[in-house]
């Protein structure tokens, strides 16, 4: 590899090296020298993030593909390494989050250094580093073995991060389920690689690209890959590990997990189905679309029922993965039925949403972390009124909420808009079933968007608005500048990606060139101001105008209304004449989502209890009233518990082998011998 062309790969190596260094440094972060973690480790993480951004950005902009080999691995299979626009894109995504986290982390991890939540620090730093190395490595891996090594490294170190605060049984349980599903998923992925290797006659990705699969085996390989990577990205119904695992990890890790790790599943799906298997079939697209739709709708509905902030965010990751999958499914459908341009559009929408979700979900988790850092509360119903105490955090968190609720002019809206546009090209298809199915899916996407908006009105409104519900919350302070900086960076990017979609889409052209040998020529045909994915007459959107208009309205309002007006007077809120309003009269999160719970009853397994205490007397009147509601995830009760029971039942049945009676054992070997003799004679 020549000096200039190889630079991105060298940068990627540098990134991995920096991550490694951060891990090594944090080994010294014993209880007496926490500084090694707070500063050293995160400093190197910062460099690593910057290097990944540089590497990825370079490959994207210069449209490079660099191969390399490292002298590790099996004697006949060196480690094959390759960086191309697709991996570059994900490297940029990962690097951005890393930079944000390295700004955020130093202050956040202080609460682990001392105080009630004190933990040994080295594991945190080391496994964070390994976790990141796993992701960086699998992005640049170019053979199945290396890919799986880094993939499993990612899952495994993720486990150690989830179980980091292992004194709570809930964390241990969550970590166990997480690792179990991750392992099963990895095995299924292995199967798919096995099929490809068997046909391609080699474990390198190049051999797999060259493989010519029969449709049946191609579908098997795709099915395995989709299932395996789907577990990692948390698609319904394989998602149960996610809402348990993400919340219990330290918040900056949750941000990495929801922002980057589950995206690796998306990367895997794209890499395998578009790049390695090659010819995509529309039937796969149908499956992906259906599962994606289910994930998005169910994800947001489950999220609505949560009152643990981080758990709520975790469920929203499921929803957004669903949206990404919808884009992918549409792209597969269109590609499979020969509409290359529309397939490209779907792919772009999916990748764009991947990037966006990484940004705003990272931002939201960091925000939740800030709240946790100051109030030690994860339950929404204990918060409230934080906007007065933590104005900056509140503002940044609000940006995240607006972005994830797909509202213009932020980035979430652009990608969903692109997905809609793809869906609206359904008439181009000849299959009548698809032509009806796709718009329905689009309508369900709209439902998802509206529900997400409802959910984040609830999240932000209950947590940051209104009056504080506990004393600790009332005493909360604003978080340190570093944490604000980390969140601010992501918030800024959310806005930029929302306002300048044309630039981003143009930057993505190399990816689509690589995968489907097509790009969106007309996307920026009208200049950077106008986003016209298909053609100006079909659809167009100009985010800058939106921003401008809102700014203008504010300006005018200031000029003509606020300036010179009598300053506002404060007064009590309207209390219907009943006297003082306490904070306990506010709507709780449960109350907020109650109408939706009634409308969509049956999506959850709801058990609701109201126990009233009435004092005896001539007229019994209720003195105390306790209301509790729990919503359970059906997919848990239907998929996982039965399997677990099955295995344990089998384990219990099999016990008869080990009776402890030596006669039985002798009989075993006797019968075995006779049986074999019978077989061979």
């Amino acid at each position: 590899m020549s000096a200039t062309d190889g630079t991105p790969l060298l940068l990627a190596y540098a990134a991995v090296a920096c991550t490694l260094l951060s891990g090594v440094v944090s080994l010294f972060a014993l209880r007496r020298y926490p500084g090694f973690l707070h500063f050293g480790s995160f400093l190197f993480l910062f460099f690593s993030g910057a290097a990944s951004i540089a590497a990825g950005g370079w490959t994207l902009l210069a449209n490079l593909t660099v191969n390399d080999r490292l002298g590790f691995g099996l004697p006949w299979l060196a480690w094959h390494v390759r960086i191309d626009p697709l991996s570059g894109f994900f490297l940029v995504l990962l690097g951005t989050l890393l930079v944000a986290i390295s700004l955020y982390g130093p202050s956040y991890t202080r609460e682990f250094a001392r105080g009630p939540a004190a933990q040994p620090l080295p594991p945190l730093g080391v496994f964070t580093a390994l976790f990141v190395i796993g992701m960086q490595g699998l992005l640049i891996a170019d053979d199945a073995l290396l890919f799986m090594i880094f993939w499993e490294l990612m899952s495994l170190s993720g486990y150690f991060l989830v179980v980091y605060q292992h004194q709570h049984a809930a964390n241990r349980h969550a970590a166990f389920i997480y690792l179990l599903l991750a392992h099963v998923g990895a095995l299924v992925i292995l199967l798919s690689f096995g099929v490809l290797a068997a046909f391609g006659g080699g474990l390198t990705f190049d051999a797999m690209r060259a493989a010519r699969l029969t449709p049946l085996w191609a579908t098997i390989a795709f099915g395995c890959a989709f299932a395996g990577f789907g577990i990692k990205s948390g698609m319904v119904p394989l998602h149960v590990w996610l809402p348990d695992a993400h919340p219990v990890a330290p918040s900056h890790i949750s941000a990495l997990m929801s922002g980057a790790m589950i995206k690796m599943g998306i990367y895997g799906i794209v890499r395998l189905s578009y790049d390695l298997i090659g010819d995509v079939r529309w039937e796969w697209g149908v499956v992906v679309l259906i599962i994606g739709t289910a994930s998005s709708v169910l994800g947001v509905l489950y999220a609505l029922m949560q009152h643990d902030l981080k758990r709520l965010l975790a469920y929203h990751s499921i929803e957004n993965i669903g949206i990404i999958l919808m884009g992918l499914g549409l792209s597969m459908i269109f590609l499979g039925s020969g509409h290359r341009m529309l397939g490209t559009l779907g792919l772009v929408a999916a990748l764009y949403h991947t990037l966006n979700h990484a940004l705003f979900k990272g931002l939201l988790f960091l925000g939740a972390g800030s709240v946790l850092y100051r109030t030690h509360a994860r339950d929404l119903d204990q918060m409230g009124g934080l906007i007065h105490r933590m104005p900056v955090t509140a503002f940044l968190f609000l940006i995240g909420c607006v972005a994830i609720s797909a509202l213009p002019p932020f980035n979430g809206f652009v990608s969903e808009w692109l997905t809609f546009q793809t869906a609206l090209q359904a008439p181009a298809l000849t299959n009548g079933l698809l032509r009806t199915m796709i718009p329905i899916a689009a309508a369900l996407l709209a439902l998802t968007g509206a529900l997400a908006a409802a959910c984040f009105v609830k999240a932000f409104g209950i947590a940051f608005l209104g009056k504080p519900r506990t004393r600790r919350v009332a005493r909360a302070r604003e978080v340190p500048a570093g944490m604000q900086g980390g969140m601010g960076l992501l918030a800024l990017l959310c806005l930029l990606l929302g306002v300048l979609p044309t630039t981003v889409i143009e930057a993505m052209a190399p990816i689509t060139q690589l995968l489907v040998h097509a790009a969106l020529p007309s996307a920026a045909a009208q200049g950077w101001l106008w986003l016209t994915p298909i053609s100006p007459t079909v659809a167009s959107y100009s985010a800058p105008f939106v921003v401008a208009a809102i700014v203008v309205v504010f300006g005018l309002g200031y000029l003509f209304l606020k300036r010179g007006a009598v300053p506002a007077r404060r007064a009590y809120a309207w209390d219907c004449g009943f006297g003082h309003l306490t904070q306990r009269m506010q709507y709780t999160s449960t109350a907020f989502s109650q109408p939706i719970r009634r409308v969509f009853a049956g999506v959850w397994k709801v058990d609701e209890h109201i126990d009233t205490l009435a004092d005896a007397g001539p007229v019994p009147r209720v003195t105390s009233l306790h209301y509790s509601v729990h919503t359970h995830d059906w997919s848990w009760l239907w998929c996982y518990v039965p399997i677990g029971r099955m295995v344990l039942a089998a384990a219990n049945r099999i016990g008869f082998i080990q009776t402890g009676n030596i006669h039985t054992y002798l009989k075993f070997s006797f019968v075995t011998l006779l049986a074999f003799l019978w077989i061979v004679s």
Partner: protein, 242 residues
């Protein structure tokens, strides 16, 4: 071709094979301790005699050694050892109740038939006598194993084990004129050590369990302990983790 057509030597071999098989059956049926040990000694004697016979006919001098070894071990040392032990443990007059003795014997017969069936496949390789003796030795070995499965007393198990080895040696002697000497010696050594260890263990067993009834040795059973099903991959996650 019938047995009449064989030469005297082969006839003798077959005869002794039949006798050895017969002793195995006796051991299978013999409930009392002393006769059991004696029958085992008889079997050893037969084995030794056969070895000598083979050594005479096909002049393999080292077979004399193995014959001597067999005699020493299987006729003298081990039976004597077992006898002493059972006297020391005060169980020389024990008679354990065999469950379904007739069934056991029928099973033994079935095993003999089965081993003939198995030996069928090597008929082309060698003469009638060899094949039959191999069949017989397989039968003796399997019968020994059956004995181990059927009997409760540890001593009976040891005897079954030893008679298995006798069967194997029978095959070795008759079909291949014995094993190479080094192997013979090694095996003999192993058997000796084994029998001594067995002796040691009888006392340990008696001390820890109060009897030599192997049916009682099931402290390490797993059959009764089982995992509660509630732990099926953890209980369903409630809306809020505790």
């Amino acid at each position: 071709m019938g047995i009449a057509s064989l030469d005297l030597y082969s006839q003798a071999i077959v005869l002794f094979a039949a006798l050895a098989l017969f002793t195995s059956f006796i051991m299978l049926a013999q409930a009392r301790m002393m006769p059991l040990i004696f029958t085992f000694a008889w079997q050893g004697l037969l084995l030794a005699v056969v070895t000598v016979l083979v050594a005479l006919v096909s002049n393999h001098p080292h077979l004399y050694i193995s014959a001597a070894l067999t005699f020493a071990l299987k006729v003298v040392v081990i039976p004597w050892l077992l006898y002493r032990l059972s006297v020391r443990l005060g169980m020389q007059y024990d008679a354990e109740a065999i469950a379904h003795p007739t069934l056991l014997l029928l099973g033994g017969v079935a095993l003999v038939i089965f081993s003939y069936h198995v030996a069928q496949s090597i008929v082309h390789l060698s003469g009638l006598a060899t094949r039959n003796t191999i069949a017989v030795s397989i039968a003796i070995e399997l019968l020994g194993m059956l004995l181990m499965c059927a009997r409760k007393s540890a001593v009976a198990q040891v005897i079954g084990f030893m008679s298995m080895e006798s069967g194997i040696f029978f095959a070795a002697v008759v079909s291949t004129y014995g094993m190479p000497l080094i192997v013979e010696l090694g095996v003999a050594f192993d058997i000796l050590v084994a029998s001594i260890l067995f002796g040691v263990f009888f006392f340990h067993l008696r001390d820890s369990f109060g009897s030599l009834d192997v049916g009682q040795f099931n402290r390490l059973s797993e059959a009764n302990q089982s995992m509660p099903l509630r732990e099926a991959a953890g209980e369903p996650s409630a809306g809020d983790p505790a």
